[in-house]
């Protein structure tokens, strides 16, 4: 071979190596080095610290960043769903930008190709802006509506952080192995990863990792790992984050000239809807039961296909026709039968669903064996 040939081709090879290294540097370095970057903490200490940190000023510190959500649930190919459709979140990768100033100052932007939707909350006023329709919607949130929907989490004022942590872990310990990793990094920041691994054999979930910022204890990432898969099946978290107060103009919105302006009060509508839904839910809940417990729990709900097709939320203008979606999902279902009867089984990485011919829907984060076992429990 000619003199220097290897030397010459070494240049592009080295370039490729450097570029590949730069792309994969983050995870590779994190995985290779493995050195503790944060002081070690037990799960209890970590939770206590987190609760303490977040209850200081009554909430999260001001921050802004990019949140990426990635799902590879192993779903059958979905019919073309619009970018803004919630269904599109079930597959692929999505990004939103978040600016958080205070509890009542928030901007969430979802940038898409030459379009952008924005939700801007400032005090009691909120705007929803959709550039594709050139529409600005003024959302007025009814004062009452907010309180009702506050989550029934333990109030930080009720308990000391240590107690909160103890309680949470006490409930969790029965079915879950909990550990803490202190060597991980999210969005370039060292984080504690709280790892929850189901003890149940039949669970499809390998573990759930919740990353808490090492400094502010803000949750930065949630990952759900399915059994037998090295990549998370579902992941949502920051790819970039800064803990500085965002510029004030992020939280002000004036509808641009020429835009359609609509007004909507969500509180009332929402509450009304919610009542209906709640009623319906109660109905279903009456008929529903849970087989198994903890991670291996399987929900059993009376169900028929017709039911689903007619009940699918109307008024979903964008995205796929729900009927078509159901059809396409069912097409990939495998017919199964056993002593419990027969039905159609739908498998994904995290969730298994069984639709029995006698009109029951069984759903759980468990293996097909577990779900058919549950189907036998009448």
């Amino acid at each position: 071979m000619r003199r220097g040939t290897f030397v010459r081709w070494g240049v592009p090879i080295a370039a490729a190596a450097v570029i590949g290294g730069a792309i994969g540097a983050g995870p590779v370095i994190a995985a290779v080095s493995g050195e503790p970057v944060l002081p070690e903490r037990s799960a209890q200490q970590l939770l206590a610290d987190a609760v303490a940190a977040n209850s200081k000023d009554g909430g999260l510190p001001p921050m802004s960043g990019t949140v990426q959500q990635t799902a590879s649930l192993g779903l059958p190919a979905l019919p073309q769903a619009g970018e803004a459709s919630p269904l599109s979140l079930l597959s692929g990768s999505h990004e939103v930008k978040v600016w958080y100033g205070a509890a009542d100052k928030l901007r969430v932007a979802m940038p898409t190709q030459l379009n952008e939707t924005n939700l801007i909350v400032n005090g009691g006023q909120a705007w929803y802006w959709d550039s594709s329709t050139n529409t600005a919607t003024k959302l007025t949130i009814k004062a009452g509506a907010r309180k009702e929907h506050e989550l029934p989490t333990p109030r930080p004022t009720d308990l000391t952080p240590q107690q909160v942590a103890e309680r949470l872990l006490a409930n969790v310990d029965q079915h879950t192995a909990v550990r803490v990793i202190n060597t991980a990094e999210v969005a370039g920041r060292p984080v504690y990863q709280l790892v929850l691994a189901p003890k149940a054999e039949g669970s499809l979930v390998q573990e759930i990792r919740i990353a808490l910022d090492g400094e502010t204890y803000v949750p930065l990432q949630v990952q759900v790992y399915a059994k037998g898969s090295a990549e998370p099946a579902f992941q949502v978290g920051f790819t970039q984050v800064t803990f500085t107060p965002p510029a004030a103009e992020n939280f002000t919105f004036t509808p641009p000239a020429g835009a359609k302006v609509e007004e909507q009060t969500i509180g009332a509508d929402f509450a009304e809807n919610e009542e209906q839904r709640a009623e319906h839910a109660k109905d279903v809940a009456g008929q529903a039961k849970v087989v198994g417990e903890g991670w291996a729990a399987v929900a059993v709900v009376p169900f028929s296909l017709e039911n689903l097709k007619t009940e699918a939320p109307a008024g979903q203008e964008r995205g796929a026709d729900p009927g078509a979606l159901v059809d396409s999902v069912l097409k990939s279902a495998t017919p199964v039968s056993g002593t419990w009867g027969s039905g159609k089984l739908i498998r994904t990485k995290l969730v298994t669903a069984l639709l029995t011919d006698d009109g029951r829907l069984l759903v759980g984060a468990v293996t097909p064996e577990e779900i058919t076992k549950a189907a036998g429990v009448k």
């Binding site: 030459l114 379009n115 924005n118």
Partner: protein, 326 residues
Amino acid sequence: MSTAEKADTRAATGDPEAGTDAARRTPGLVPVAETMRTTERHPPEPSGAVPAGAGRPWAFWRLLGSELGLTFRRPRNLVMLAVLGAVPVIIGIALRVVASDGQMGGMIQDVAGNSLMLTFVSFSFLVLLLMPVAVSVVAGDSIAGEAGAGTLRYLLAAPAGRTRLLLVKYLNAVVFAYAVTAVVALSALLTGLILFPAGPVTLLSGTTVSVADGLLRILITVGYVGAAMAALAAIALALSTFTEVSIGAIAATLVLVIVCQVLRAIPELGSITPYLLPTRFTNFDAVLRSPIDTGALREGLLAFGAYIVLFGSIAWARFSGKDITS
């Protein structure tokens, strides 16, 4: 051991092989070997690189000027620039007609409301295929075209120097890429100003900025899209060093672009799309957000830089060692 040393050793030791060599070389003829030992010899330098300082300081720019003169005088290239300049005019007129019907939404609405938006709409169309075509033609032709015509051997014998010629060819393609981008931007800007009202610009985020700010954002877009085309030019240049048929290099580059566009449309392959070059082409819409999404722009530019370094080095590795037999 260098040849000079080898020759010395031979002379000193009376290497028998030298004698047989001479005998074989000149059967029954006057031996000419006497000159062989006294001549200073240098190892061949197939790379033909002109060492720094060997030429006049502005010689590089003279060659680049000559290259640019060829590119911008060539009728084919001028036609491509004219076609690309005409597209925004056509888009503008079409949008004007549609806009007067009243039914509109999204970008059409934006353009109808503001003259500057036509530039971004034009880029979003042209950056997908037409601009890559123009850039691929010039960059893909750069080495292969000269090789096919035979002029490459005279350029290298001049001696242009392989690394120097490759650099000149690439810079020429980059200038052309920016010329293409600037022509589109200027044509769209003029068309927009004639057909649509000028005034404050509404961004995708719903924020309104001044005309001056809008023009600045167009300038950033030109810089970004030009860099995108420069990255594509690096691929075309690399392919150009592998063939003597310029249409082959041009077609291969365009096939790559189209394949990438197809791959992007497959949702299952979502994990690789961030690494495909065309994915980054349309990310100039980051300038239309408030605040400007500098992260997206920086990532895009880093990707372009990576493509330029990778394919530039491939082009160099190939071209500097290539046997020019055309």
